[in-house]
Symmetry: C2
Subunit: 429 residues, 2 copies
């Protein structure tokens, strides 16, 4: 199917925004500007009053945890995990994983996200949700090496790779997902590395999220989490490292050396009081930093525009530098840098030859007035309810605010049923 | 006119959310729960699927600056002011002030704000916009005592008080607006105090916004801005102090002693890299802290739900305490505390006898699912485009998303014309 978006204000890879035409041929951005006469569109979208940006890339989430949104907030981390999150997670069945994923994917599509990187259990059900909805995803089986099911989880990650890597018209990629250095002993991580090398797969892992984690790692291994991962050889696999809040200069040098890509999760890091990652420094050192929402239980949504906005704001105050992360840089982190972070080199910018993953915002209303600078307005003034159209892999998944592949009402009904069963609580609205 | 809101999930002053009925009689919340049979409604609102919260109070803004939204971002403060903001402000005429105010008020009503505290020039035009639109406001003439027009501005503030205080069915209150200690010499401030006392008016001022301001004040007066204001006697007038980012423990003790109320502006403080105000400490000391957006040129919107969300998030990370500002506390800061901060004791909570300033959110969609805790969802997951209905002083100003007193299209047209004339730039969308 071919799509022509006519006369749309478009954010280009160089940070300018200009009105142009975008032609999509099958799953690819075919041409921008003057469209060859040979191109025939099956669908034409009037781009007047709209802003075209690369679809957002959510570089770190646990999508099925959307079922726990607002279940437990404003608590100390271990109290929250031990008394609220883990007991419920232990009860989750495949159906919960599926409906949680459908709920989260619905929200992501409606808020302009076209790619997400996920780490959780029963990932075949997440893969099913990705297949059915049309979104793009990078999936990994979250593995707690220290848990009784560690070996089983590793086997599941292998099976996930065999069954789903490069499936769903190439929309699904599979990584290996060892949870973190503090939950995965060195021997287990070495097994993961071996499997990742066997499959030529990359690794998605939580690193240096909290002060406590770094302290514990130093006590146990006399190394920071980053240095410990280098020692074990994990950083040679191609690593997407979530969080990276507490880093030394030596850590950053190691990350640069091994081309570790970061998923920065400002909303979750603030809400869980983990701290503020040294993003300005990471960017200055040339490290690739994408953005993620983390799970909705610690955010509490999957709204990437909020993460882009937070990224543009908090690092200015943290460094007392109003130029620390300018608006366009934050947008790049939420799009092209995010794509590179999750290992995809063919999406994240609007350019001929790239995958057709495009989000259109409606620029109606006061928040877009006056429009001296559309990128500033997007990052500092707009919100995700202004998303009008979302195209993934050349297919329109959101059409003037309406989902084309998803029955939202049914998903909300089923998700509420799962949530009530899991928690024994009555849902209010 | 009487309004009955039936069966609506309502946030009560004690932090619970329960389904109930709300009866509005003229400008007052008349009854909650079982409504007396004698009450007759002219309008009945079906509250099913909606959340009723007190209307948001924007405790510090410069509404006409909405004309400069996205005109200049990601710049050093003095570069931004001297080369961008001040030259354009110098060209502003009464028409610009009026259309800028209309643009900002339109946005505020649509995003659930029912009260705003403003400081700027030509405030009679802002008062006109407040009268026409039906919103509630606390207006002050921004005065630069050191400027050639300092005396004229003080006279204008007096005239503003005489003409508008307690006008528009009591919706307008007038304060005195000396800009800041670094722009208003002690002699000028003493004149302001004298006038404020004469009119029994309160004072709205910027205090301790930046490190530079505090340093300069210490060099000039050997006192911090707060201590200097105490010495001059300004703090005895009833003070709404905007920003208060850089405070010593002594400053906080002085503020407590004089019951100084704070307008915390997290979005602006982050964006201008001013820093993060010690809000947790202020709250612990029992100081009243409301929230404001500041002007749209340094935010870039007037969305109070974003400020509430930022407040709940950033102080957790700044203090490494996940309980620093819980969700309901942040909501109170954006409502009841804000009302007290701007000197209004009869609005900011849903309780019989209070002014009928109420915002209803639509709880449809994934961001509200599952709903274990509606207040958490509002603060951490929702966005301001989900505002459905806004009532101010017992009048419905937004009805299922539609403005009842405002022609939004005309306002956007006129605001764009003003913006183009002021800046010489072409508006893009």
């Amino acid at each position: 199917m071919n799509i022509l978006i006519k006369n749309v204000l478009t954010v280009f890879p160089n940070g300018t925004a200009k009105k142009t035409n975008i032609a999509v041929k099958n799953d690819i951005i075919f041409a921008i500007g003057t469209i060859p006469e040979t191109f025939t569109a099956n669908t034409t979208i009037d781009g007047q009053g709209k802003l075209a940006v690369p679809g957002f890339v959510n570089a770190h989430t646990h999508v099925s945890m959307t079922l726990l949104r607002s279940y437990a907030d404003d608590m100390k981390l271990m109290d929250w995990l031990e008394n609220k999150i883990w007991p419920v997670e232990a009860k989750m069945k495949k159906d919960d994983i599926y409906w949680g994923a459908m709920l989260g994917i619905t929200e992501m599509i409606k808020t302009g996200t076209t790619v997400f990187a996920d780490m959780y259990g029963d990932m075949d059900k997440v893969a099913q949700a990705v297949e059915e909805t049309g979104i793009r995803a990078v999936l990994s089986r979250g593995m707690i090496g220290a848990a009784p099911n560690g070996q089983a989880a590793l086997q599941e990650n292998c099976t996930l790779f065999e069954n789903y890597n490069n499936s769903a018209d190439g929309r699904i990629t599979v990584m290996f997902g060892p949870h973190a250095p503090y939950t995965c002993p060195p021997d287990f991580l070495k097994q993961v590395i071996e499997k990742a090398q066997k499959y030529n797969a990359q690794i998605h892992i939580h690193l240096a999220e909290t002060e406590g984690e770094v302290k514990e790692c130093l006590e146990k291994y006399s190394k920071t989490p980053i240095a410990q991962m280098e020692k074990i050889g994990l950083l040679d696999c191609g690593v997407l490292a979530a969080h990276c809040v507490h880093l030394s200069d030596e850590d950053i040098a190691i990350m640069k050396k091994h081309n570790v890509r970061v998923a920065h999760n400002p909303g979750s890091n603030l809400k869980l009081a983990s701290g503020i990652a040294p993003v300005k420094k990471l960017l200055e050192k040339g490290i690739c930093v994408g953005l993620g929402t983390d799970g909705a239980s610690s955010n509490n949504n999957l709204d990437m525009l909020e993460e882009i906005n937070l990224t543009a704001l908090i690092h200015k105050a943290a460094t007392l530098d109003p130029l620390a992360v300018p608006a366009f840089k934050a947008l790049q982190m939420g799009t092209y840098y995010g794509a590179k972070a999750v290992g995809l080199n063919d999406t994240g910018k609007i350019e001929p030859g790239m995958k057709a993953d495009i989000t259109l915002f409606s620029m109606q209303g006061t928040q877009w007035t006056p429009c001296y600078d559309a990128i500033s307005l997007l990052v500092y003034s707009a919100n995700a309810s202004m998303v009008d159209t979302v195209i993934v892999n050349g297919k329109i998944l959101l059409d003037k605010g309406l989902l084309t592949t998803i029955d939202e009402e049914k998903i909300i009904y089923e998700a509420n049923k799962c949530a009530e069963r899991l928690t024994g609580k009555t849902i209010k609205n």
